[in-house]
């Protein structure tokens, strides 16, 4: 009987020790620092299109390395709100730019980070982007990303980016 009790206590001790070890080890925690993003700047403008981009930093503030397996933008401009432009958006890593919309899985070591470049292309439905931008409302953009750390993968969203009309007009004005 005593032996069984000793065995039980030892097993309990082992379980608690492993649990404490895992809890202390923690996991990756990847965060997009939306408040630290750069303003949208004009990359290209034609008669009917305008392309803007901004950099959004991210960091792994957890206690383990993490992987961003996938990341993409989700722009939110329903036609009920405004149908003057067609929107295409994408993101890419700042150190590995690519224009195919593919996000290559990226390891984010503890305490480090980089930035993604969010690119938004607006095409005027009536062929005149300058006129269309004057009417355009603020537009929300979500960064949706899939994280893999020590625990099973999950998909989450960064705090919403708001691409403000004033910001767009300033950027277009910057072109002169």
């Amino acid at each position: 009987m005593d032996f069984l009790i000793v065995l039980l206590v030892a097993a309990l001790f082992l379980v608690v020790a492993i649990w404490l070890y895992i809890a202390h080890q923690g996991d990756a925690e990847i965060a997009f620092l939306v408040n630290e993003r750069t303003p949208f700047t004009l990359v290209e403008k034609t008669q009917d299109t305008a392309v803007f981009s901004a950099q959004v930093p991210f960091i792994n503030k957890g206690t383990q390395d993490g992987i961003i397996m996938d990341a993409y933008t989700r722009h939110l401009l329903p036609r009920e709100q405004y149908d003057g432009v067609a929107v295409v958006s994408r993101l890419e890593l700042d150190n590995a730019p690519r224009d195919d919309g593919y996000f290559e899985a990226y390891i984010v070591p503890i305490g480090t980070g980089r930035a993604v470049i969010v690119t938004v292309k607006l095409t005027a439905q009536n062929g005149d982007i300058t006129a269309a931008l004057k009417e355009m409302p603020d537009m929300g953009i979500d960064i949706v990303y899939q994280v893999l750390g020590r625990t099973p993968w999950y998909i989450t969203k960064a705090p919403r980016i708001v691409m403000k009309q004033a910001e767009i007009l300033t950027a277009v004005g910057d072109l002169g």
Partner: protein, 221 residues
Amino acid sequence: MAELGLIPVKTRILTDSDNIVDTIEAYAKDDIGPDDIVCVAESVVAITQGRMVRPEELNPCFLAKVLCRFIPQKGSLGSVYGMQCVMEAEGKWRVLYSLIIGMFAKLVGKSGVFYQMAGRQAALIDDVTGTMPPFDKHLVFGPDRPNEVAEEIKQRLGCYGATVADVNDLKRALIVGLSKGLEAKRISQILIDNPFGNASQRTPIVIIKNYRLVEQASAAN
């Protein structure tokens, strides 16, 4: 006197729709002679065999979630999915037993015991990010029947020999599969500087030119 030469062969991205022997024939047949050895990257052989899985397709067990915590994150088994893959390939109790023995071995200063005991897949599984797009979001197992693959390459291409190898820039050249008559240690030495390059160079095939002639000359001396 003939000299050893290393010729990397560039291919398109290979998928599970490809046959590795057909691919070597299509891309390198004219460069391969009877004195040469054909080497092919193990992860590419595995991909052509369809031996990869997405994390989303796996359902990690409790043991995988716990045991992965005892593997450094730099290793593929440090992720819950890498651990689940090796458990499915080699058996979960074998992995548990190997990990416990490996931990005790480490306490007495002997490392690598876990990988020796846990089965071949423990050392060969590539975690997410371990392979180039579009397989960067997959875990890739080691190849199936690598010796048979090497033998098939040798027979079809008429070369002196063939090998399936896991080579990286960290001076690791592990011979995973070999056709009959070749010495793994010697091939490993030749491949140690990673003539396959990195994944983005897309050269999963390397031809070792004049291998037989050089080995014969060296044996004669």
